[in-house]
């Protein structure tokens, strides 16, 4: 334990409004902490910069999963276990449930929140590629009100998002209009469990006979934030699955992927495996 806990302050207001007020009053001084599976690691390693934290853990206003006729709204404070357990998510949004099941261990899923995962903005996170494939929308909230934006507009650069200093992520909305889409998700980690992703693909495709009518491909660890592989998507929409379209899609992946060499893997490996995963998905659609 490389930090001195006495040097940190943590407060836990019992309402979201109170939290938002605190963030508004001193936006650069309080860092929100939910389940702590990220920030407490930083504390233990002696690299948690913020000395003042405000707890979002278990606030009813953030920890909910609401099922509306046309959408599902997941509160940002929902844990990965909450998500895995939810029957509608398991049935209609299976790749989100799967991604949740791969996020850390059972113990970390009991504490890690979807909101924390998104806001932490790691390019390797497990759920974001799924949310991108689902065209999820984020609702951000502050004392000034709420605003909603497509998740694909949330990340600006490596670990930099559009979140204002006084804002927190309120909820994630996914439309229930994806019946008939075939899902795919695969994560390639350093081992079978409890692994940070080297590369991951989450995809949905709607077929019309042998033609791809719509396809969305979300990817982890191919850019400095989670991304949609739009060039690959464009190369596939309206096409049938032939060796030529597969080759073109692979080539497209290799153009838009800009992975790095890091402690876990190499850029060449990531790019090629991403193309392999996409090809694997396309074969299932044949």
């Amino acid at each position: 334990m490389r930090s001195n806990a006495t040097q940190y302050d943590l407060i836990a207001p019992n309402s979201l409004d109170a939290v938002l007020q605190i963030l508004a009053d001193s936006p650069d001084r309080y860092t929100p902490i939910a389940g702590g599976t990220e920030l407490m690691v930083a504390l233990g390693a002696g690299r948690l910069q913020s000395k003042k934290l405000v707890s979002l853990w278990n606030l009813d206003e953030l920890r909910f999963i609401e099922v509306a006729p046309d959408a599902i709204i997941i509160g940002a404070g929902s844990t990965f276990t909450d998500i895995r357990k939810h029957p509608i998510i398991a049935e209609e949004f299976s790749i989100l449930a799967e991604a949740a099941s791969w996020t850390g261990s059972v113990a970390n899923q009991n504490r890690g929140t979807l909101g924390g995962n998104i806001v932490n903005a790691s390019p390797a996170a497990d759920s974001p590629p799924v949310l991108l494939a689902y065209d999820a929308r984020l609702t951000l909230i502050s004392i000034r009100g709420t605003r909603t934006l497509p998740y694909r507009d949330f990340h600006l650069a490596y670990k930099e998002t559009t979140l204002e200093l006084d804002e927190i992520l309120h909820s994630i909305t996914i439309s229930r209009n994806l019946i008939g889409y075939k899902p795919y998700i695969r994560k390639v980690g350093t081992r079978n469990a409890q692994a940070i992703s080297k590369v991951a693909i989450a995809a949905l495709a709607r077929m019309n006979d042998a033609y791809i009518e719509d396809i969305r491909i979300g990817a982890a660890s191919l850019r400095e934030y989670p991304t949609r592989l739009t060039a690959a998507e464009q190369s596939l929409v309206g096409k049938t699955i032939t060796p030529a379209t597969i080759a073109a899609a692979r080539a497209a992946v290799l153009t838009e992927a800009r992975p790095i060499d890091d402690i876990r893997s190499t850029a060449k490996y990531r790019a090629t495996v991403a193309a392999n995963l996409l090809e694997e998905f396309l074969h299932t659609l044949e």
Binding site: T6, R191, N192, A193, I263, Y269, V273
Partner: protein, 770 residues
Amino acid sequence: MARTPQIVGQSPLRKEGKAKVLGRAQYVDDITLPNMWFGATVRSTIPRGRITSIKFDPAIPWHEFTIVSAADIPGENTIVHLAKDHPCLAVTHVNHVEEPILLLAHPDRAVLPAAVAAVHIAYEELPAIYTIEESEKKEHIIWGEGETANTFKTYLMQKNQTPIPDEIWQEADFIVEGEYRTGAQEQLYIENNGVIAEYDPESGVTVRGSMQCPFYLVHALTLVFNLPAEKCRVIQTETGGAFGGKEDFPSVIGSHAALLAMKSGHPVKLCYDRAEDMAATTKRHPSRTRHRTAVSKDGKLLAGEIDFAIDGGAYATLSPVVLSRGTIHAPGPYLWPHITVRAKAMATNIPPHGAFRGFGAPQSIFALERHMDKIAKTVGLTPEELRRRNLLSTGDRTATNQLLSDPVDMQHLLTKALRDSNYHAKRRQFDHENPTSTIKRGIGFATFFHGAGFTGSGERRLNSLVEIELTPEGQPRILVSSTEFGQGTNTILCQIAAQTLHLPYDQILIAQPDTTHVPNSGPTVASRTAMIVGKLVERAAQSLRNTLLASSHLSDNYSTQDFRRAALRFLAQHGPLKAEARYESPGNIFWDDETYSGEAYPAYAWAVYVAEVAVDTTTYAATVTSFHALQEVGKVLHPILATGQIEGGIAQAIGYALYEKCLWRNGHLTNNQMTNYIMPTSADLPPIHVTFEETPSPHGAFGAKGIGELPMDGPAPAILNAIEHATNIAFNEIPLLPEDIFERMTATPDSGTEDLNPAIAGPVFSEATA
């Protein structure tokens, strides 16, 4: 009339198991002493250089701290193992990142990390070297001089002490060459290194902590403090895993804590966190082995030259002994008419490497068993047939000319292992399925042995002593310095004593290893506890039994109550009773350290391991899908413990082969966290099928031979042999990661084919002529 039930060979409950499952076992960080302070270590941030200044940031209230430097050392500034090259604390120069320079102590644990960061040390950097190749180039000499420049130790092991005649090479049908490499490996015990030290000007030093060899620490302390051994008391606390990583390292951390205790006047707890333990403590030696083998066209080994090199890190520590074991195991379980092994341990500016289960043998056996498959392919034999034509058998002589008088039947073990694993059918099945599957499957095996006990005259030098005393309540209590760290020391020694004394297992006690109370039964290493120490426990128990029988307080066929009564009567009449047994070297063990020949080990365990793998061509990841481990171990003292040892060792070896990579940059271990140093989880390991055979050894208790390290030797080559079967690509370096498989699998014809291994291109390479 009490009939003695079989205890040895059964699986009684682990002696200290109840405390462990209750969460009551006291590991060192669970212990608090009155007025205890906490310690921390200020370490080098550069791999090699001269310290030019040390400044203490005025932001820290240094008057609250105790600060220890080398100047505070009362005795010698050295951590002794085999040489005295290893400073306890650096003075003017550092030779590796994380080298300890200063020690701090404070009553509040939480303030120490900031204090360590507030010690600003400036250096004049010197060129550093990180690989065997850089070291042997001798462009920068970082250790020794002249003959020993950068070289901790060399061995030349030649069968019959004669070089290989030239004609052998000239007339051989095949000469097969290969180069094989293994990486470092972190022991990754779940409990980090830690100790609590106390100092008293009258009574001396007391250190309690997580360790394998209390008397090694005693020895280290006598030098650091210039005190006699009687004033250096060491107590082993419940130890959460060791695997060799707590064999020599406690001498470092124990000395450090004791110095802080001395200067502060308080007991000092010094426990590392994971990041520090991974970065600063010992690892398995990386290795490079080069084979050159003359083979006849019917697959008989004619002669072998083996160059075996290990990277010892910055100081010698145990490198000479690791090198020794690696050297002796390099020729494997085969009959070599001629063999020359040239071995060397080189110095680099990496934190010193040390003991890790297997201790040199996993390295050289990896090379050999990969090379045997290569020889088989070259000559046109199956891997099985090549082994059959060369395996040692009863009455043969090993590469050190040791006569195998104890029965050995590797042919049978090979047959059984291949049958149990369905090897031939699976090989055919995979050959058939692979061409049309994205998952390539393969099956491979390794045949190997592992010598139990210290090499050659080592056991004679150790001169181990075991005692069994009667407690005031009349119960037998075993006194040994052999430590429990999960492998079952407490349990098996109590079983042996119980069986010999004809008492129930529950009646036998074993004392916590406290060097003021227990004799030196030697270190808990080298797979020697069951065989060597167990035998001494057996003899001491027999002696205790004989004493009580002879005292006429007891007659044969006694019951437990009879024994207790007789013991109490004896104690009342004669006072304390302590039976003892000291190691006696069997007459026929003769080892020559000069020529490296003779009886290298009193006994060998023999094994055949079979690995099934799947290589996913989408992700290039290789996983082990099934594993069969067959070994002949003399006597299985405790089936559940023994099986657990094999399974655990195989899990570590799977990590060694496919997952665990130490990533150094400029001498810094960059992946010193569990997140980034990948050990297998419960989801990564295959079903492991363990089978034992027993050919009792005359040397071990109830015939037992050592098994602790054996399971580390076989899996890596078996796995890579299987991967070669699956992919038709020869990988010769571990750890083998998906990125490595990817590089080779996607290599285009322009950049070199998958079939060519650059190491093959030796000067003489001839195809068989029928």
